[in-house]
């Protein structure tokens, strides 16, 4: 449902910088269903890629083989992302706060981590330079926290226009897609509020699954359930992916 919801929010010809996992699944579902000319960029340097199966890693051969072009890493970050050519950055994280700041680095203190996570990777500069950012993350009081253990990527910082005042080129996170519904930032305070929910989810449940006192928009819309077409396309994509990832490799020695 998260994947389908996120896919619906993408548009044709958007230049989209995509992370692995749910963002990649949603971006490719959108490409297959409704946005054939969406430009997908992965940080491995593959530009305009059209993978037939979802990549397991950010640099699977499938991404290079189906790309318009493949560029070196310093170039993808400098000439393409930093230059402002990306319309939409699509990120996941381990924790998010009410202003859309993200933690993908560590749970607990940095020097004595309770859980050391993989780290920021490309996200800090995607979050800074993409014209806007969507965050896709499962909701629980452990992931939607009042205060991050570590800021890996900036959202609206402390809110109330701080991000814009400090001169960030991109507009920052404009949507958080969760397994309860959709949050959007309040235009004045920058605080994320619940604006839509899935049919089977109550507002009270969404509020309970959030670690900060989640406010709701003027009206909380109901997100239409996935259509048969959406479900079939997603299932086929996952089935193709599973089959491809199970193929054994033959070494030339």
């Amino acid at each position: 449902m998260m994947t389908v919801t996120a896919a619906r929010m993408l548009w044709d010809r958007a230049v989209c910088f995509v992370g692995i996992g749910l963002p990649s699944a949603a971006a490719n579902l959108a490409r297959l269903l409704k946005a054939p000319d969406i430009v997908l960029i992965y940080e491995s340097g593959t530009i305009g890629t059209r993978p037939n199966v979802l990549p397991l890693s950010i640099g699977d051969g499938e991404l290079a083989d189906t790309a318009t072009c493949v560029v070196p890493l310093p170039e993808i970050f400098a000439y393409w992302l930093q230059a402002g050519r990306v319309d939409l950055g699509f990120l996941g994280a381990a924790q998010v706060d009410r202003f859309g700041n993200l933690n993908s680095t560590v749970i607990g203190p940095y020097d004595r981590p309770q859980t050391r996570l993989p780290g920021a990777g490309g996200a800090p500069e995607i979050a800074l330079h993409a014209k806007q950012v969507y965050v896709i993350i499962k909701q629980s009081p452990r992931t939607f926290v009042p205060s991050l253990d570590f800021v890996s990527s900036a959202g609206f910082l402390g809110g109330n226009g701080e991000r814009a005042r400090r001169g960030a080129p991109g507009r920052g996170p404009q949507a958080i897609i969760t397994d309860y519904g959709l949050m959007r930032p309040d235009p004045t305070t920058d605080e994320f509020v619940l604006v839509a929910r899935y049919e089977h989810v109550t507002v009270a449940a969404a509020v309970a699954a959030c670690g900060w006192p989640l406010r709701t928009g003027a009206a909380v819309e109901v997100i239409a359930p996935p259509t048969l077409e959406e479900l079939e396309a997603l299932r086929e994509l996952h089935a193709r992916t599973r089959a491809a990832h199970a193929v054994r490799v033959k070494l030339p020695i």
Binding site: I58, G59, D60, L73, G119, E125, A154, P169
Partner: protein, 284 residues
């Protein structure tokens, strides 16, 4: 003629305490060279790599390193790099000092290193805590506009190690596909060791492709399959099934140690490594 065996190349060019960058962004990761470093029991290395994934999981778990400079460390699409995690969280098998960047910052550091500039710069690290925990991340005022721009010190490894598709008999190296920051890491380093899938008489490189001329290459070793379980475009695909299986192997200290013992210490070279895996039923 820089063509050597992998054992000779590592013996000569990788020393205890060196800063060593094994690069390759998902593609062309020099696994066989990393295994040879483990086999030769190098210690106190400062490992540098944008994405310490399975290879550094193995090298750090085997006790080769006490410093790590990186920007993302995990098993891509699968989860944690358990050995890297345990080194950071529990100082096992030994403490690991980390120097953490973002990808863009680390790419800028390699560019500065290759250019022999005093720092790399980028519009980056905005609003993050990375600059708090890594004192190397600083900023400078633009001399034209006054804008504060983030800076990172250059990365100049003692030795960079790469895997590529081909070299010719003179030792010129050609790579294609996803090339990451390999060219920058190569030219930033004092020494450069490259393993290749094959050595050919003539490279016939398309103009403007990534070629490292023999005179910047310290040693080339022919190691077919040397990027496994990553991949070499045109030769073999990424072994995603093994990368998924690694999660279980690496989760447990003893199981990990047994794996290293059997396949790395227990073999003399990459060919024997592959044979041992095949003998145990790994389809390769």
């Amino acid at each position: 003629m820089p063509v050597a065996t992998l054992r000779e190349a590592i013996e000569e060019h990788v020393h205890d305490g060196d800063m060593v960058a094994l690069e390759g962004f998902t593609h062309l990761i020099p696994f066989a060279a990393g295994h040879e470093i483990i086999r030769q029991r190098r210690r106190h290395l400062h490992l540098v790599r944008m994405t310490p994934d399975l290879l550094y999981d193995q090298m750090i778990g085997a006790g080769c390193a006490d410093h790590l400079t990186f920007s993302w460390g995990g098993n891509p699409g699968v989860g944690s790099a358990h050995r890297v995690r345990e080194a950071i969280e529990k100082s096992w098998p030994q403490p690991l000092q980390v120097h953490e960047h973002s990808h863009a910052g680390m790419a800028a550091a390699y560019v500065a290193g290759a250019s022999r500039l005093p720092f790399g710069l980028l519009r980056g690290y905005f609003g993050t805590d990375l600059a708090t925990v890594n004192p190397d991340i600083r900023s400078v005022a633009c001399p034209y506009t006054g804008e504060q721009i983030a800076t990172v010190p250059p990365l100049n490894p003692d030795v960079t190690i790469l895997h590529a598709q081909k070299a010719d008999l003179e030792g010129n190296v050609l790579m294609s596909g996803i090339v990451g920051a390999q060219k920058e890491a190569a030219l930033a380093a004092k020494r450069l060791v490259v393993t290749v899938e094959e050595i050919v008489e003539r490279l016939d490189a398309p103009m403007n492709s990534v070629v490292l001329p023999a005179w910047v290459v310290s040693a080339v070793a022919c190691v077919p399959g040397g990027a496994w379980p990553s991949y070499a475009r045109g030769y073999y695909a990424r072994d995603n099934a093994f990368c998924i299986a690694w999660d279980e192997i690496s989760r447990d200290r003893e199981r990990f140690a047994a794996w290293i013992e059997r396949y790395v210490y227990g073999t003399r070279n990459h060919r024997e490594f592959v044979q041992a895996l095949r003998a145990d039923g790994v389809s390769l």
